[in-house]
Symmetry: C2
Subunit: 329 residues, 2 copies
């Protein structure tokens, strides 16, 4: 059986001006992972105040993941990797707390413990395959930090049409200054990379994937930049099993997903959901907004396997229509 | 859509000698609700050390609930109503903490808050119907306490073949002495009844059922004595909507489920899974052990609706065989 696992958490790195589009404003942004979890579990909000949208109204990729789940019917599970606001979704606890700004000296002290707990949990899950997604505003910046800490070359993608690359690099440079780590200094020590340059979600995704692979479970990392960072963590944990990164043309057209995946000895799968054909706000994905998140790339791979991918571009996506017009619960 | 909700928690009342059979010994007993939640979510243990069995080896009713889930395919959800040990199941948080021995002055201070949070959560869930089950060792004693606090007459059932009725009454009498409440003194104040004579699971089941009913969701309470106490809480909260209590012949043969349900203006449904025909340890249910718990009565009602009830007595129940022979994860 295949299970979709959403790893949901927060980092205060997202509060740096101009870093993230995940949530229309800063207040909404802290609710984004909690709301994404509810959308994926229930197809609507339960405790969260607003449906996450980008500043121009582009709906969260969690709506796409849920729409695919309703078509394909896979099992879902949410892991709390440092949620900052209440969620009505049921969550598994691995001891993660919200991450602080990586420009602080020890931004994610819970990361090593969460890494270990997630790895054990990944080993014990009974599934044949895990498709892992993430939701954490600001996550591409911490992903860049983690890759540089491991000594892995990576481009970053962004939820904003204009990727603030220079800002991200500045933040990561400041993070190295604040910690005792140099670029490449956390090679083969993934729990240090996530603790000093990363966020709790990367710690949990990396640990979960490593543990699942070690116990013979197939793993698909659904996403772009952040999942490449997670794949790097898995490899630097000494886990060499086959591993797939599932992304979309919206990310892979902008960042070198295939190249980085190949360098990490991972398979890259890139789907094209054809959202440019849609009349609703999802068409903005094709214009470079939001791009990825909440395991959308992984869900779309499951849609492709089930033979329903082609229908998503022009078909009815009930969830997207329902949440796209919602002003709250 | 119908969703099965397991409300899982603990009370130290269960540690009183002779009160409960939920778990072969006291140490295992604290793990029982966490393990039941894992069995229902995954069909096997994840973080829990042992499969809950009675002192003579009768498997937890959670195994039956899971076996039915695998046949019928309903959605499941676990609410943390004061778990004392880790669980690998995803859980919804309503602020409940483990209950203390009801012979203490204020044994469940989190009950009123959990009642309110569960009621709001029940209002917001999108389902057409909730089937609610519980798992809490010692729960029939606190159920007796709650009913007496509300002024509702009830027999209690037991997970032991010889129901220690006198002991339960003594404990409840001591609980009234320790609190400032007299029998009947919490009538129409359900949150006081659960706080001073009850446990966190009853608070959450009652709140959840009340909120769901208020928002037009159908509710089935799956269980015996404890679910009658939960139904009493709902009625004493002023919620008069139709409400069903689903139990089995193993409970209803010993306690007056139909009579109490009728007095509370609830519909009683009693199923007979025919376990006396089975060659495995499940046959002990027919001999008066375990009887009920983990929403088994509710799951069996769903089995009956799906037309698979008759097959459970002589058919293969993979989960029961798998966990029944397990010595741990």
């Amino acid at each position: 059986m295949t299970r979709f696992v959403l790893v949901a958490g927060t980092t205060e790195t997202a509060r740096i001006d101009g870093i993230s589009a995940a949530g229309a404003d800063r207040k909404a942004m802290a609710h984004t992972p909690s709301a994404d979890a509810e959308l994926i579990e229930y197809g609507r909000l339960v405790r969260s105040p607003v449906v996450p949208v980008s500043p121009t109204g582009c709906p969260t990729p969690a709506a796409v993941t849920r729409a695919v789940q309703e078509r394909v019917g896979f099992e879902t599970l949410v892991v709390d990797a440092g949620l900052a606001e209440p969620t009505g979704a049921a969550t598994v606890d691995v001891g993660a707390k919200p991450g602080r700004d990586i420009r602080e000296a020890d931004p994610v002290p819970t990361a090593p413990g969460a890494w270990v707990a997630a790895r054990e949990f990944g080993r014990d899950l009974p599934d044949d395959e895990l498709v892992i997604g993430e939701t954490i505003p600001g996550g591409t910046t911490t992903a860049l930090g983690v890759c540089r800490a491991l000594g892995v070359d990576i481009d970053t993608s962004s939820s904003l049409p204009e990727n603030p690359v220079d800002l991200k690099r500045e933040v990561v440079t400041a993070a190295f200054t604040a910690s005792d780590l140099d670029p490449g200094g956390a090679a083969y020590r993934p729990e240090l990379a996530v603790r000093f340059l990363g966020d709790p979600v990367l710690a949990v995704v990396g640990g979960l994937a490593a543990g699942a692979l070690e116990s013979g479970t197939d793993v698909v990392l659904g996403g772009g930049t952040q999942m490449l960072a997670a794949a790097a963590l898995v490899r630097h944990a000494g886990v060499a099993n086959p591993l797939t990164v599932a992304s979309t043309t919206y990310v892979a057209g902008n960042a070198d997903v295939r190249g980085v995946a190949a360098a990490l000895d991972c398979k890259a799968v890139v789907t094209d959901p054809g959202f440019e054909k849609r009349a609703d706000t999802l068409s903005r994905y094709a214009a470079g907004e939001a791009k990825e998140g909440a395991g959308m790339g992984g869900a779309l791979l499951l849609a492709e396997r089930a033979g329903v991918l082609d229908g998503l571009g022009d078909g009815t996506l009930e969830v997207v229509e329902r949440v796209g017009s919602a002003d709250g619960p």
